[in-house]
Each structure stands twice: as structure tokens, then as C-alpha cells.
């Protein structure tokens, strides 16, 4: 017993010394501060790590810009970061720690719908605002909506509507084959797409589920797709999973023989898939090339990002950047960091930063903004770094494609 106590104390002592050496200061309970702490909870490992890393770049860009101009209401903005590993459990632990230990009064980030929902719950419990960035599944602002959570990014419904509207004239009566990631987001997308195209005459041959996460080998599913010879192949995968799936689909010759749909894409996925993304149709809420040409706010953002990092931002980065500015706007407009007041403003204000004028719906806190339908171009035409990955087929206005209020299952709290 003595042995363990003395060794335990020794180790604890050196741990303490190490901690102090790292300079962790004792934390203070929430007291009047001269700074605002924002928690950045993004994936830095797992299949969506590249998306998370790009969001971090955008966060830092926005916050540095804001601090250079005096911060938010004169208060400097500090950040605390966490890697959620694309796992709900880790994301919640991070959020709790950021709020309790680091004093964060706003949490932003997200990688998958699962983590977003988890963090959303924690933030609601703690009374902290959550600006969810990269979450695409409907649930975040539908079944699992919360008063403290705001999601600007398009949801699966909007993507499906946009895709379908653009394509259905060409492929509406065709045969569709689906390969779907087996979790909430995947199901959400599949349901939404089939709900739109089937009434128009499209025939769903099959929906093959891929275990999520962890499927690295899509060949069994792709083989089935190849045997079915569909007109349209929908690959409902995201991040690295989509890249691998698409590359493997090429090995089976599917990129040449079938029209491939990927419900949501970003610059890194297209880069990873290289030439296999050519002719693939997808959606995105933001495309730097298109928006920078059209909106001064976007151009400012893209130029600043490019200047600082040497390459253009992905659409996940854009929403991260915008979310910081939207929060700043809301705090300043409400005149306080009090969550309830900020929520009030967010629910009732229209704003414009990097896209057209947009707003959040009061009923579910879903952002109403445009959704682009894009089509991949050959790798040879993609410019330096391969960031110029697509051409825009059509732009759908937010109000046109957002889910109707009548279909909402959201029961939002009053506070």
C-alpha cells in the first residue's frame, strides 16, 4: 500500500508540475469577462477530418479579422478547440469541457448529424448557443431541434429537392440504384430523394446500405450496382468515404457507364476523387468560384482565405466563417452575450455576408439560403490544386427548396 501511495503521489506530483508547466491557469466560474470564448468542436480525425480542418482555418480567419477590429462589442474573442473524431461521444465530452472548463459561451462546429445532435443536446442543457456548421441531415433542425441550435447549412431535404428538380426532366423515368451510408444522414437523404423522384416516375431498383462508419471496401455493393445496370447511381456517402467509394466505382467501370449522383460534395472530396468526379452531379450550398464572382462579400472572404492559406475555401469553411460573423452580428444587435437575447435576434434578422440575403426560420432555426446543383469537370480543367472542381448547373433559391413548415416534427423549447 505504501508503495502505491508514494508512487501515486510521485506521479501525481509530476503530473501537476507538467500541467503547470503547460501553463494551464485555474479556471474561473462564469464571471463578467473581458473576452468571449468560442468552442470549436470539429473532426480532426476520422473520415471527415479534411472538412473539419478546413473549417478550423476559416474560424481562425474570421476571428482574427474580428479581433483586429476590436472584437465583438469590444470584447476579444478567444477560442478553445477540440477534435470530435466524428464521434458523438467525444463531441459531447468536448462540448462539456469547453463550456465548463474553458468558459465557452458559444459552440460551433460539427461533422456529422450524429455529433451535431449530441452537441445540440448538451448546449441546450447548458444554455449555450450552438451554431452547427457541417451537418446535413434533416434531424438537426427537425426531430432533434433545440432552441439554442442554429443550422445555416442546407439540409438533406433541400439538396434532394434541388437535385431532383434539375435532373428529373432528364432522368425522371429512369432506373435508380442507391448505395447509402447506414446512419441517420444516409437514410434522411435516401428518403428525401426517393420522395421527390419516385412520384415523377423514377424506379428505385435497390437501396444497399453500407455499415457506417468503417466501411473501406465498397466493392460488394458496387458489384451489385454494376450488375443492375441502372441509369442513375446515387452514392450517399460523405468525406473520405465518398472518395474511396467513387474511386472504387471507377475500378468497376461505373463512372463511365452510369450517371452518378452524390447528394453533397465539397472541394476536398472532389480533389480526392480526382478525375473520377468528372460528370458526377451533386449539390453544395457554396462554391467559391461561383459566389466570389457574384457577391462582393464572398469575394472578400475567398481572397482573404486564399491570401492567408494559399488556396480557396471549401464550402464547409464558408459556413464556418459566416457563422462567426452571424454570431457577432447577433450579439452586437442584441447588445448582450445573453443567450436568450441573441437567440431572439437570430430568429428575426435577415443578414448577408458571403451569399445572397438569408435568414433563419423561427420555427426550426434552419437557415434559408440557396442550394447549388453542380457537375464535376475533368481534372485537366480544374486549375491549380484542383479546387475548381465543377460547373454550376442550376441555383435554387432557399425558399423554393426548404422543407415546408407543415411537415416539421420540430417541437422547440421556449427557452
Amino acid at each position: 500500500m505504501k508503495q502505491a501511495l508514494s508512487r501515486g503521489r510521485f506521479v501525481a506530483g509530476s503530473a501537476g508540475a507538467a500541467a503547470l508547466a503547460f501553463g494551464s491557469a485555474p479556471y474561473v466560474i462564469a464571471a463578467p469577462t473581458k473576452e468571449i470564448v468560442i468552442g470549436l468542436n470539429v473532426p480532426q480525425s476520422g473520415p471527415y477530418a479534411e472538412q473539419g480542418t478546413d473549417q478550423l482555418r476559416a474560424y481562425h480567419l474570421a476571428i482574427d479579422e474580428i479581433n483586429a477590429k476590436g472584437g465583438i462589442m469590444g470584447m476579444k474573442v478567444k477560442t478553445t478547440e477540440g477534435d470530435d473524431q466524428t464521434k458523438a461521444g467525444v463531441a459531447t465530452e468536448n462540448a462539456q469541457r469547453m463550456i465548463e472548463r474553458d468558459g465557452a459561451i458559444m459552440i460551433t462546429g460539427g461533422s456529422s448529424t450524429g455529433t451535431a445532435i449530441a452537441v445540440s443536446g448538451v448546449c441546450q442543457q447548458k444554455g449555450v448557443i450552438f451554431m452547427a456548421t457541417l451537418t446535413h441531415g434533416d434531424e438537426t433542425t427537425n426531430q432533434n431541434c433545440h432552441k439554442h441550435t442554429f443550422r445555416r447549412y442546407n439540409d438533406a431535404y433541400m439538396s434532394a429537392q434541388s437535385l431532383a428538380k434539375t435532373l428529373v426532366s432528364k432522368y425522371g423515368t429512369g432506373r435508380w440504384f442507391h448505395i447509402t451510408a447506414d446512419y441517420a444522414w444516409g437514410h434522411s437523404v435516401y428518403d428525401n430523394i426517393t420522395a421527390v423522384v419516385e412520384p415523377k416516375g423514377a424506379k428505385t431498383i435497390k437501396n444497399v446500405l453500407t455499415p457506417f462508419p468503417g466501411t473501406k471496401d465498397f466493392s460488394p455493393m458496387l458489384q451489385q450496382a454494376q450488375a443492375a445496370k441502372p441509369d442513375v447511381l446515387v452514392l450517399t456517402e460523405f468525406g473520405e468515404d465518398m472518395v474511396i467509394c467513387l474511386n472504387q466505382a471507377a475500378q468497376f467501370g461505373l463512372t463511365k457507364s452510369t450517371k452518378i449522383l452524390v447528394p453533397l460534395v465539397d472541394e476536398y472530396m472532389a480533389k480526392g476523387a480526382k478525375d473520377n468526379f468528372n460528370n458526377v452531379v451533386s449539390t453544395a450550398p457554396f462554391y467559391w468560384k461561383y459566389h466570389a464572382a457574384k457577391y462582393p462579400g464572398a469575394k472578400k472572404f475567398v481572397d482573404a482565405f486564399q491570401k492567408r492559406y494559399g488556396f480557396p475555401p471549401s464550402n464547409g469553411a464558408e459556413t464556418a466563417y459566416a457563422d462567426i460573423y452571424i454570431y457577432k452580428m447577433a450579439v452586437e444587435k442584441s447588445g448582450s452575450i445573453n443567450a436568450a437575447k441573441v437567440i431572439d435576434v437570430l430568429e428575426t434578422t435577415k443578414f448577408q455576408f458571403t451569399k445572397e440575403q438569408e435568414w433563419y426560420r423561427k420555427e426550426d432555426h434552419q437557415g434559408v439560403n440557396s442550394c447549388l446543383v453542380v457537375e464535376g469537370i475533368p481534372e485537366s480543367q480544374r486549375g491549380p490544386g484542383g479546387f475548381e472542381y465543377a460547373k454550376v448547373l442550376e441555383v435554387h433559391d432557399g425558399p423554393q427548396v426548404v422543407a415546408p413548415l407543415t411537415s416539421l416534427a420540430c417541437k422547440m423549447e421556449t427557452a
Binding site: 477530418a49 455499415p211 473501406k216 458489384q223 450488375a227 473520405e240 475500378q251
Partner: protein, 289 residues
């Protein structure tokens, strides 16, 4: 029907990866009496070395560099850390090699990042091959053939060379071999490096198929232990049989009822351990002194 054949082929490819790792595990156990939980690290290091070489120099060189790099690493590990653990209980070996696996995985994460990476085969190998009713990616077939050739060479090594003799004898009676004058120390190091190199080579070769991230090595290791247990600790053919069995089982279950595909291999291991603990081809008892 085509899906079934495709699943069979897929199971073969997967199974061969397991076999390659399991063979290394089992011959290392046979000669060194070492339970090596760090074997997945060999796979991962080989994969990353292969990735870097393939991206910067060329795919062919990746297959040369990877096993050499891993073999060197293995020898280093042996000299520095593992040597003092050969006489210790298997539990202790499990613990220290588990720790090493953790350290290697985290180091790889720091160096290469956590994202999943892949390199593509040269264009000529990227297409598909038609085998009767099915079309199958050419590289996977090449991979399977390559692993089979490699295993045949390993088998020849074990069966036909002096070092291999020491491996086989060592499985039965280590001390006897030493008394008979066999240089078991040197043979052991060579065998350890060989087992590691096999895993490294397979890691590099499998990356175009399965991609690599820091956790992949360990992800392949756990089923490989299942294979070794199922086949019989110390048995080369046991590793082959076990690997193919587990690979096919996983692949076919994936076809029949995908959610069970991961569970079923552990069920298999549990069954074998209950009904025939020495494994399908393991020896029931080994002569004691």
C-alpha cells in the same frame, strides 16, 4: 449469383491479407514465444512507407521499400525493447506490445495526419478483368496472386532452409534446439524481421484497395489474432486455413446480412476456443521437458 462469386473473390482478397499477417504472427510465436500485439504496427508502417514512396517515386519501389523499412524497424524494436520480454509471461508480452502498438499508431497519426489516404495504381492496372459472369478489378486479382506467391516463398523458407528448420523445431522444443547447437538467437531475429516484413509488404500492397489511416493496422490485427487462434498458434497451414476461412466468412456474411459481418468472426473464434482450443491445425499438446 454473380454477387456470390464476387463475394467469394472479395473474401479471398481479404482472407489473404489476414493470412499474411497471421503467418507472421504465428511464426514469430513459434520461434520467439512472443505474443506480438504490435504486429498491426508493421502493417501500418509498411502501408505508410509504401504510400509515401508510391506518391513520390513510384509504385514499384513502394513494394521494395516497405518490407525493408518494416524489417529494420522490427529488428530495432527487438534489440531495444522486446528482447527482455521473451522469457516473460505471455500476459506481460501482450501488455508491452500493446503499448508499442499504441505508440506507433499515435506517432503515425502525428506524422501523417488522421485522414484516410490512398494511392492509385498505375493506369494499366486500374481496369477490370472479366471472369465469366463477373467483372472484377484487375489489381485485386494481382494482389491475391502476389500474396499467394509470397506465402509460397515463406513456406519454402520454413520447410527447406536451415533457419526454417529452427522455426519448426522451435515450435516444438525451443531449448532442445539450443542445446543441439542451433543458433536460435540469429534465426529468431531473422524470423521476426521476416514476419514483420510480410506484414509490411501486404500493408503497402493493400493500400490501393483498403486505404490507410493510423488505425488500420490495429483494425486488421484483431481479426488476424482470431485467425491465428482459429488456425492454431504456431501452425503455418493453420494461419492459411484460418485466414481464408475468416475472410470468406466475413465476406459472405456481408452479402447475406451485412450487420453481422463483424460479429460472425468473433463467434467463430469463440466456438473454436470452446470446442478445439488448440485450433483447427494446432497441436493438442507439446512435449514438455
Amino acid at each position: 449469383m454473380e454477387a456470390f462469386f464476387e463475394a467469394l473473390l472479395g473474401g479471398l482478397v481479404l482472407g489473404l491479407i489476414y493470412v499474411a499477417i497471421a503467418v507472421g504472427l504465428t511464426i514469430i510465436f513459434g520461434t520467439l514465444r512472443l505474443v506480438n500485439f504490435a504486429h498491426g504496427a508493421f502493417y501500418a508502417i509498411g502501408a505508410y512507407v509504401g504510400l509515401v514512396i508510391a506518391q513520390h517515386i513510384g509504385v514499384g519501389w513502394a513494394f521494395v521499400a516497405a518490407p525493408i523499412a518494416v524489417a529494420l524497424f522490427a529488428v530495432l524494436l527487438d534489440r531495444l525493447v522486446l528482447r527482455s520480454f521473451y522469457d516473460k509471461e505471455p500476459t506481460a508480452q501482450l501488455l508491452v506490445t500493446f503499448g508499442i502498438a499504441l505508440v506507433v499508431e499515435e506517432t503515425l497519426r502525428l506524422i501523417f495526419g488522421a485522414t484516410t489516404q490512398q494511392y492509385q495504381m498505375p493506369g494499366s492496372l486500374q481496369g477490370s478483368v472479366t471472369l465469366g459472369p463477373i467483372t472484377y478489378p484487375a489489381y485485386r486479382l494481382l494482389f491475391a496472386a502476389g500474396v499467394i506467391v509470397m506465402l509460397a516463398l515463406v513456406w519454402l523458407f520454413i520447410e527447406r532452409t536451415n533457419y526454417g528448420l529452427i522455426v519448426r523445431a522451435g515450435v516444438r522444443d525451443r531449448i532442445m534446439v539450443q542445446l543441439l547447437g542451433g543458433n536460435i538467437r540469429q534465426a529468431s531475429t531473422i524470423v521476426f524481421a521476416l514476419g514483420a516484413a510480410i506484414a509490411g509488404l501486404v500493408g503497402a500492397a493493400a493500400t490501393p484497395i483498403y486505404s490507410i489511416d493510423p488505425g488500420t493496422g490495429f483494425a486488421f490485427l484483431v481479426p488476424s489474432f482470431v485467425v491465428v487462434v482459429v488456425g492454431g498458434l504456431g501452425s503455418f497451414w493453420g494461419a492459411v486455413l484460418g485466414g481464408l476461412l475468416i475472410g470468406e466468412l466475413q465476406s459472405l456474411t456481408n452479402l447475406a446480412y451485412a450487420p453481422a459481418s463483424n460479429v460472425v468472426i468473433y463467434l467463430c473464434m469463440a466456438l473454436v476456443l470452446l470446442l478445439r482450443p488448440q485450433g483447427l491445425l494446432g497441436e493438442s499438446e507439446v512435449i514438455r521437458q
